[in-house]
Subunit: 224 residues, 2 copies
DNA sequence: ACAAAAGTGTTAAGTGTACACCCATGT
DNA sequence: ACATGGGTGTACACTTAACACTTTTGT
C-alpha cells in the first residue's frame, strides 16, 4: 500500500546516474565527467543529477546526459538497472539514485564540457580511473548488465551504424565481454539467429573485403 | 556526477513496495493488504510506504512489511528488482517506488491487520485480485524475477523449512513457474547441483515415505 | 608473391527433454 | 490386495566448444 500523506518523514533526494557506453578505438568506453565542485572535485564521475518534479526517470537521465556532456543524440538503448540508496553514499545528504544504462551508437564522439563540470570524456569502461562516490560499483553493475543484455537482447547492434561487417560486430562483443571469441562459432551463432540480412555491399579495407550486413526487420528480444 | 546542492527542483517522494511470496496449500501466494483509505479504498495492494531519512531501502521494506501485515519473520530473501517512477502512477503526487521481492519460509502464515489497512492476506500470486495503483505491473515483474532467480540462485529452498523432500521442492518450482515439471529430470538436475544432502530421515505420509534432504553447506549463486 | 583480413566445416562433449514402470508404505 | 505417492534409467535432439586452412583483395 503506497504512501500515507502527508509524509511524517524527512525527505529523501532522488537522482539518476547514467552509465553511457560506446565503442572507441576498438574498446568499450564509458562517458565520464570530471567534477568541478566539492566533494570529489577533479575526480571522474558518471553523469547524474536530481530528478525534477514532473519528470520521468528516463527523461531525467537524458537531460543530465545532455547538460553535463553535451551529447545530443538519443541513446539507442536506455534502461534503468539498479537503485543505489545506501545512507552514506553521498556526503551531502540522503540521495537515492536510480542508475541507468545507455548505449550510444559509434560516431557519437563529440562531447563538450557542460554545467559545472570541467569536461567530459570517453574512458575505458573495463579499466576506468578512480571514480567519485560509489560510482565504481554503479559502473561495475552496469557492465554486468550490459554483458547480460548481449545474449538476451541483441544490444551489440546498438553500438554500430546501420550497416556493419561481422568482424565489426564480433569486435563489439569482444569489447563488452573483455575476452576473445572464436570467429567461426560467433558467425554461426549470429547468422543462425536470423536477425541479420546481407546488404549486398562490401566494405573494402586492408585485406579481403567484408560483407556488409544490416539488422533484419524484426522485433527486439524480451526484457529481463 | 551526482546532485547539485541545494536542489533547484520540486521534491519527489521516495517509497518502497514489497512483493512478499510464500507457499500456501501448494500454491504460490503473495502477501496483500486491503487499503483502508482513499484512493483505492478497499482495493488490494502490495505493502508499501515512504522511506525515512536515515533508513536504508531494505530496512524500509522490512518495516512496512511488519507494520502493515504484522509479519515478524525476517524474509529469507530480500532484493530490490525495479524502480517504478512514472509520473502519474500515484494520484497523490510524485512518488517513486523501489519495488522489492521477498521470500518468506513456509510456516509464516499469521498475518494481522496493522496500520491503516483493513487487513492482510496471502492471495494467489498468479491469479491475484485487481490491485491498486500500478501494483499489478509491479507484481508481474516480481514474478518474472522470482522465476529467473529459481534457476540462478536456488531461491526455491527459501520457501521450505530446513528439511524437505524432493517432491516438496518440485512443488515449489512448479508453483513458481506455474507449470508441471518432469519428476525424473527435476531430481536429476537438482541432485547434480550437489546443493542437497540427504538427512537420513524420511517423511511418512500416505504413500511411500520420502527421503528428507537439507541444503548442503555451500555458498549461494551469483547475483544478476 | 606477399601481407592482411575475411570466410568456411567437422567433431566431440555436454545438456535438456521425453517417456513408463517398479517400490514402499498405510489401510 | 489395493491405493497412494516416491523413486528410478535410457535414448534422442540439440547446443556448445575446440580447432586450421583457403579465399579475396591491395601493394
Amino acid at each position: 500500500m503506497t504512501p500515507t500523506f502527508p509524509a511524517d518523514v524527512t525527505q529523501v533526494g532522488l537522482a539518476v546516474d547514467v552509465a553511457a557506453f560506446a565503442m572507441h578505438a576498438g574498446e568499450l568506453r564509458v562517458l565520464l565527467v570530471q567534477r568541478g565542485e566539492l566533494p570529489h572535485a577533479r575526480d571522474w564521475a558518471l553523469p547524474g543529477g536530481l530528478v525534477r518534479g514532473g519528470e520521468e526517470l528516463h527523461e531525467a537521465a537524458l537531460r543530465v546526459l545532455h547538460t553535463e556532456t553535451g551529447v545530443e543524440l538519443e541513446p539507442r538503448h536506455l534502461e534503468q538497472f539498479h537503485t543505489f540508496g545506501e545512507v552514506g553514499r553521498d556526503p551531502r545528504g540522503r540521495i537515492v539514485s536510480v542508475a541507468h544504462l545507455a548505449v550510444l551508437p559509434h560516431g557519437t564522439v563529440e562531447v563538450s564540457s557542460g554545467g559545472h563540470t570541467l569536461g567530459a570524456e570517453w574512458l575505458s569502461a573495463h579499466r576506468p580511473p578512480p571514480l567519485a562516490f560509489d560510482h565504481r560499483s554503479i559502473l561495475d553493475r552496469a557492465l554486468t548488465r550490459l554483458q547480460l543484455r548481449l545474449e538476451y537482447a541483441n544490444l551489440a547492434l546498438e553500438f554500430l551504424p546501420d550497416t556493419f561487417t561481422l568482424p565489426e560486430l564480433q569486435g563489439v562483443h569482444e569489447a563488452i565481454l573483455d575476452r576473445p571469441l572464436d570467429k567461426r562459432n560467433f558467425r554461426k551463432r549470429l547468422l543462425a539467429q536470423g536477425i541479420l540480412t546481407p546488404s549486398g555491399e562490401r566494405r573494402v579495407g586492408v585485406g579481403r573485403p567484408a560483407q556488409l550486413y544490416r539488422r533484419a526487420k524484426s522485433a527486439r528480444a524480451a526484457a529481463l
